[in-house]
């Protein structure tokens, strides 16, 4: 069973690489029961959106999808 600390590491890494099937499963089970980590995940997504939306960045950025 994943602990919150491990879950947050995986959630951060999930922003950078595709998590393995085992990691995804563990994470999903954990998130189903943990509101703190669900909020953490939403916050990670928001950080990405904020960086992409930073005012003044070249227009092209907005069309470029997330990697």
């Amino acid at each position: 069973m994943l602990r919150c600390k491990e879950a947050t590491h995986l959630l951060s890494e999930g922003q950078d690489r595709k998590l393995g099937a085992g990691e995804q499963l563990q994470l999903r089970l954990h998130l189903a029961m943990c509101s703190g980590c669900r909020n953490f995940r939403a916050q990670m997504d928001f950080l990405r959106a904020a960086c992409r939306g930073f005012p003044g960045r070249g227009e092209a950025d907005k069309e470029r999808g997330a990697k």
Binding site: S12, A42, Q43, R48, C51, R52, P55, G56, E59, A60
Partner: protein
């Protein structure tokens, strides 16, 4: 105004401001940022290239600026050890550790909060001021790795090879940066009931 293809002084001044902010956040050196922006602007405006409007010009200068920033970061990391753990970094890591109980689950009072519809904040200019302050508040090397990943949009493998750090180190640094930013925003912007003024 018709098709916004007028490249006037005012437009250049506005682009310049945006570019400076973008460069300064990443380089953390006003003079270096100023030079990079100047060079990028000169290169773009003196080139023989024709622009179909302002958006195209902006995209073009920013792509030149990106390259300049990457070059400067490469030079900087020849003289600094990105993966060295400074006091700032160690302090942040310790602070995160205190968010968890002994069993590595959240302390109830430290559990990440529900930010509601945070996207609404992206439309508020005051939010961007806070976001910038939080970015600037990250330790320098931590911020550099994060900005390369999120602002210059390198993938992690590229960041690692550019900065000569291991993947696991990169992951640790990005985790630190994201946690630092998230906590900064949580206390400075998303804290419930603290936005009356």
């Amino acid at each position: 105004m018709s098709e916004a293809s007028v490249i006037d002084d005012e437009f250049v001044a506005a682009i310049r401001r945006d570019m400076l902010k973008f460069a300064q956040l990443q380089l953390r050196d006003a003079a270096l940022a100023e030079d990079a922006v100047q060079e990028a602007l000169t290169a773009a405006l003196c080139g023989a290239r024709q622009f179909a409007g302002r958006a195209a010009l902006k995209t073009w200068v920013f792509s030149i600026l990106r390259h300049k920033i990457v070059d400067l970061i490469r030079q900087q990391c020849r003289t600094t050890n990105i993966s060295a753990l400074g006091d700032d970094e160690a302090g942040l890591d310790e602070a995160f550790d205190t968010l968890f109980k002994q069993n590595a689950h959240w302390r109830p009072e430290a559990r990440p909060g529900d930010w509601g519809n945070p996207e609404e904040a992206l439309r508020e200019s005051r939010f961007w001021d806070v976001f910038e302050i939080c970015l600037n508040h990250l330790p320098e090397n931590t911020a550099r790795v994060f900005m390369m990943r999120e602002f210059l949009e390198f993938d992690t493998a590229e960041v690692c090879s550019e900065l000569a750090i291991s993947v696991s180190n990169c992951n640790v640094i990005l985790y630190r940066a994201r946690n630092g930013l998230r906590r900064c925003l949580e206390t400075s912007w998303f804290a419930p009931g603290e936005k009356p003024c």
